[in-house]
Symmetry: C2
Subunit: 216 residues, 2 copies
């Protein structure tokens, strides 16, 4: 089998998702760190690989894959027993919808480039850009995770977002909870989210994917 | 069969995607217009249905589904011959990645709420909010569609984003091209995007889903 390479940035929550999926499947991989703050994603070498210049990108099975959720669906389809999505169509729809609440409605709005643009606007007017950033992050993360909590099925007692094993929704949730803590978002009232996060973080695969353990 | 109801807003490109999918499948549906500009999505009645307060939401098969791409995947799985995703795992990954370039990296950043927030910031400083909005839209739509063009497989001569029939990627592309035109983004140089758009727009299903034909 050819080497699996993850183009990764430790603080990217999209990368964090793919790390969790790889760890849950026990797929060995080598990390190629792409330092977003240093602008490595804009280098011609990396753009040659991924024209979008985004992480994560995953070299696997002879192809380079981009977009975290599309990568996770690929890993699910190509690894029997991954079960990142449930067996029934309505269940799969629910897991994908939960995943998209985070991956579409929170994450892109809080992404480094977008927030950097907002900070530049603030700075041009003499506002403190770090204050503006903090308010921006807190607003979108809080709104999004509140909606996520309400979309969880109250009848689900499986201990995870959907059923009794980690799905793509849990894979999306954990990096977002990490980000919420990083930005000081008060999510103490989100009982289901906190219960699920505690359960996931106790699992070895989630622990090994943690940003603090990433090669930089 | 129970009535299919689409909670829709004519100008929402996420709604437009689901309209295209329903039209491609020939599924009859009733539109329940949710006027985002009038704030109807924030009403308690609608929040009761969809806690996120977003369109589209689709009532079908006895359940209410949210999140446009998760709805489209559901329709694909439950309707034989939909073929919104190709048969091979690498092909499916490519179609999903293309779809996510639009649905994650362009659309959420240009969404009414986020742009409204940016406009408020501009206004507070005496800037012209409509100018700021225009620059914001043009920047993110242009960058995103340029990346989309480069991610299309140059060896694909099928006439659509992937292969020789409309996939989820085409379903995402057409509303984004509509938006690009609305905001005066110059996409004249994106040859593949323009060729695909022309081909899709000549199809009856894409034509019937157009915003101008929506009940309001």
């Amino acid at each position: 089998m050819n080497e699996v390479i993850l183009y990764d940035y430790w603080r990217s929550s999209a990368s964090y998702r793919v790390r969790i999926a790889l760890c849950l499947l026990g797929i060995p991989y080598r990390t190629e760190p792409i330092d977003l703050v240093a602008g490595m994603h804009k280098s011609p070498e990396f753009r040659e690989r991924n024209p979008q210049g985004l992480v994560p990108a995953l070299q696997i099975d002879g192809v380079l894959l981009t977009q975290s959720l599309a990568i996770i669906e690929y890993l699910d389809e190509t690894h029997k027993g991954a079960d990142f999505l449930p067996n029934d169509a309505v269940g799969r729809q629910h897991v994908r919808a939960l995943s998209h609440v985070i991956a579409m409605d929170i994450h892109p709005v809080c992404n480094l480039g977008v927030v950097g643009n907002v900070m530049k606007m603030a700075e041009a007017h003499g506002d403190d850009p770090t204050e503006i950033r903090l308010a921006w992050m807190r607003k979108y993360i809080a709104e999004g995770l509140n909606a996520f909590e309400r979309l969880l099925d109250p009848a689900n007692s499986g201990g995870f977002c959907h059923g009794d094993r980690p799905s793509m929704a849990d894979i999306c949730l954990i990096p977002q909870v990490f980000n919420a803590k990083r930005w000081g978002v008060d999510i103490g009232g989100l009982n289901a989210v906190n219960r699920i996060a505690e359960r996931c973080l106790a699992m070895d695969a989630f622990a090994r994917a943690h940003p603090d353990l990433c090669p930089r």
